[in-house]
């Protein structure tokens, strides 16, 4: 069986006629309410160079399906990535062995200019809990081979699972060596918690990377239009370690703020731009994000996109992927680290929003999995920065939305035997926190843990612990670890135990740093709380 995308000859003819009438190659990327696109060329269409410069990826695995991805960009920094201004046909294969002797699925997809020549194939009909290899072909060009894995079948007993958890990879802040180590981990999935790109302009030297090949001129300005966001993804994917991490395992990504703009909140931009203008920017940013992630179709059409979703790994784990950016109210007290206020506690102010929150708590309540993981962006537990009697909270984190924070945490605390594990990014530091019924009382009940993964590169080389990090330790008895090196988090699950290994590299301003585990914790299933390992 060869599933072929969109084999509709009648429609093709209609489209042809349209092209003839209007003079064709119209620059229009077509209306959002239309399924159409430009016509695809034959597979033998000549490209100026190897189109697989941005690598390949897979993601959003299900028991019987996985999305495989690539984007054709023979000259990634040129307009249209160096592609001709028409659709191009791409062939794909999925095999159960690395050498493609046993091909289990194959087909054709169309890379369209409207989606920056990205290809998102939702490969169906696969077996649960299995490794697969995939690749693409355009004309004579063959892509690298990627490895992916389906999730266990519903209800299946699973011995163990391993996830890499990562976030925050500012390109000019350093090399993605941490991804090189993720690629070597043999994980079931990479959970990416946002800030995959930063929207800022990039200097010729590429910041701490100090590149000999200058970053081209068009990168000096901040990303704010679709072409510019696409360029940013192309630059980020120029790092071979990032491509390797995609190639090695399926990713389950979510976004935070920098995929659009620093600390934006729902409809509110950092600069308080008119909502009408900001939504256009958000629509372009969301579209570019989808184009570059192994997410299912359809693509975002306009300024909204449903990103929160759930993955089940048999009876061992369920992963709830959150979106705490798109629906949130503006930060209280003009953002930053602030003392408590009425605005902070205002129940009308959304973070995840009522609908997503209900979806989350309903999901965890009805889950049959031993471990219930949340792929979360900003810190969910209380985090005070003032070591004295006063309190100082991050208005951009869940602390800045105290009413919804309370409902969510109370909701999680009320569920027995669900073993909630919150995975968090954003802060460029490794933290481990016990989630307490009353964070001010160390003797109160612990009902879950929050594991904060440090950044891949953001913040540069980093240090063991900064003065601010020490303040956090002094102010929050439920905080068991602060480490401000770059790296990622490795989470291993069995029916009996969770093990969290905080992996770190000593520097990111040069390539090839070694990795080491700087701290480890275990959590016993049914007995919430961190134990130093």
């Amino acid at each position: 069986m060869i599933p072929v995308e969109d084999p509709r000859p009648a429609a093709r003819l209609a489209r042809r006629r349209f092209l003839t009438v209007t003079g064709a190659a119209t620059a229009l990327a077509f209306a959002t309410n239309l399924p159409g696109g430009s016509s695809a060329s034959a597979a033998t269409d000549r490209l100026p160079d190897d189109p697989f410069t941005l690598g390949i990826a897979s993601g959003d695995p299900l028991p019987e399906a996985v999305v495989i991805w690539t984007r054709l960009a023979p000259r990634p920094y040129e307009p249209l990535g160096g592609m001709p201004y028409h659709a191009v046909e791409v062939e794909w294969q999925v095999a159960s062995d690395e050498r493609f002797r046993r091909i289990v699925r194959s087909g054709r997809a169309t890379a369209r200019p409207e989606y920056s020549y990205s290809v998102h194939v939702d490969v169906r009909g696969l077996q649960p809990s299995r490794q697969y290899w995939y690749r693409f072909k355009v004309g004579t060009y063959l892509s690298p081979v990627g490895r992916t894995r389906t999730t266990p079948a519903p209800g299946q007993r699973v011995d163990h699972l391993t996830f890499a958890v990562a976030s925050c990879q500012s390109f000019p802040d350093g090399f993605y060596t941490a991804h090189q180590h993720i690629a070597a981990e043999d994980v079931d999935a990479v959970v990416f918690l946002g800030d995959y790109i930063y929207e800022y302009g990039v200097s010729a030297s590429g910041g701490l990377r100090n590149l000999t090949d200058p970053v081209p001129n068009q990168f000096r300005t901040e990303a704010d239009t679709l072409d510019r966001y696409r360029l940013q993804y192309a630059l980020y994917k120029s790092d071979p370690d990032l491509r390797a991490a995609h190639q090695a395992a399926p990713w389950i990504p979510t976004w935070d703020d920098h995929e659009v703009q620093d600390n934006y909140a729902g409809l509110t931009s950092k600069s308080n731009a008119p909502v009408e203008d900001f939504l256009v920017r958000r629509a372009s940013a969301y579209r570019a994000y989808w184009e570059h992630m192994p997410l299912r179709s359809p693509a975002p059409q306009g300024p909204n996109y449903m990103l929160y979703r759930r993955f089940t790994f048999g009876r061992l784990a369920e992963l709830n992927v959150l979106d705490t950016r798109q629906y949130r109210a503006d930060q209280a007290s003009a953002d930053g680290w602030k003392v408590d206020s009425e605005e902070r506690r205002d129940p009308a102010r959304a973070l995840a929003g009522a609908q997503q929150q209900r979806w989350l708590l309903d999901g965890v309540r009805t889950s049959h999995a031993t471990w219930n993981l949340l792929a979360n962006q900003v810190i969910m537990s209380r985090m005070d920065q003032d070591p004295t009697a006063g309190d100082l909270y991050n208005m951009d984190a869940w602390d800045g939305y105290a009413a919804e924070q309370k409902v969510t945490l109370d909701g999680l605390a009320a569920l027995r035997g669900r073993n909630p594990v919150v995975l968090t990014g954003d802060v460029h530091a490794a933290y481990a926190l016990d989630m307490k019924r009353d964070f001010t009382d160390p003797a109160s009940q612990t009902y879950g843990v929050e594991l904060v993964a440090t950044s891949i590169s953001s913040g540069g080389n980093g240090s063991e612990i900064s003065a601010t990090g020490q303040k956090f330790l002094d102010s929050n008895p439920h905080l068991k670890l602060v480490n401000e090196r770059r790296g990622y988090l490795r989470v291993r699950l069995t029916e009996r135990e969770l093990r969290a290994d905080y992996r770190a590299v000593p520097y990111v301003d040069r390539n090839d740093a070694p990795v080491q585990t700087v701290s480890s914790f275990t959590v016993e299933a049914g007995n919430p709380g961190l134990h130093a390992a």
């Binding site: 077509f30 062939e91 701490l208 072409d227």
Partner: protein
């Protein structure tokens, strides 16, 4: 059929990739014309406009000049659209493509910077913009290049930096002729992008070899941001002679807003300051103006 071919291709490609790939092309042409999908396209109308009728261009690096492209959707359906921009060499544009979501009735406004290198012949040029059936021509007038009369070798030549805190603190701000620290944070000074990380560098590259015997550094120094607290403390002055960088002066423990470093004049193709530390703990490199003279 496809299956077999792919396997063969991979098997062979371990040996002679390029040659084999060429041979396989003909065999793979099974798809013929690729599939496409079409709806019934709604009439789409895109508008293109400029905020100015003529773009004045100064042929120097760092010139902040151009126009605002107004890219509108006058149709009734929301679209994603592309506008292509072109200009004849040696002129360049900050972008040759603008793509965006354009809701019905919306006009996107995008600044386009136009640059001409030194020595560009003065005269008339044209920028063309096209999107679908829409076309726009924007006339450009390149002025004669400005001539520096102060002897400052850093004016009107390219400047680069180890990093730039964009958009407010570009390297160009350090050679714009504005030494006033009260204009800080308005693109008239350079601030690197990596807090607490040193060394950084700021470099001026000459069009032709120049005799250089003095480098003046104006670091950030205002009532609000005094140099003793926010300015550069330690840096080296280096000049490039042939392919080699030579350190010609070292400044240590500075707390002043302006430091002049004089040295035996040399013929150089570039000069730079390599910054080593700031008066701020875990701070940045901040230069309001960088100047160089023969003596």
């Amino acid at each position: 059929m496809t299956r077999t071919l792919w396997r063969r291709l991979v098997g062979l490609s371990r040996g002679r990739k390029a040659a084999v790939a060429g041979a396989v092309i003909a065999l793979v042409a099974i798809g013929g014309t690729a599939p496409a999908v079409a709806g019934r396209p709604a009439p789409t109308r895109l508008s293109l406009a400029s905020d100015v009728s003529l773009v004045q261009v100064n042929p120097i690096p760092c010139a902040n000049q151009g126009f605002q492209l107004q890219f509108g959707n006058t149709g009734r359906a929301d679209v994603y659209a592309d506008a292509f921009l072109e200009v004849k060499a040696p002129l360049t544009l900050s972008r040759n493509l603008v793509s965006s979501y354009l809701p019905a009735g919306y006009t996107l406004k995008v600044p386009i910077t136009v640059t001409a290198p030194r020595g560009t012949a003065p005269g008339q040029y044209t920028i063309t913009v096209r999107s679908g059936e829409s076309r726009l021509s924007v006339p450009v007038e390149v002025a004669p290049g400005p001539v520096d009369t102060t002897g400052n070798l850093a004016r009107y030549v390219p400047v680069t930096a180890s990093s730039e805190n964009l958009p407010s603190y570009p390297a160009c701000g350090a050679v714009d002729g504005d030494r006033d620290s009260n204009h800080w944070a308005t693109t008239t000074g350079w601030n690197d992008a990596n807090k607490g990380a040193f060394p950084d560098w700021l470099q001026v590259t000459f069009d032709k070899p120049e005799t250089i015997g003095r480098v003046d550094v104006y670091t950030l120094d205002s009532t609000k941001y005094p140099a003793a607290k926010y300015g550069l403390r330690d840096w080296d002055v280096q000049v490039r002679v042939g392919a080699d960088w030579q350190t010609v002066a070292q400044v240590r423990g500075n707390v002043a807003g302006q430091v002049s470093s004089s040295f035996t004049p040399l013929t150089a193709t570039a000069f730079r300051i390599v910054t080593l530390t700031s008066n701020e703990t875990a701070g940045y490199s901040r230069v309001v103006e960088l100047e160089a003279y023969a003596s």
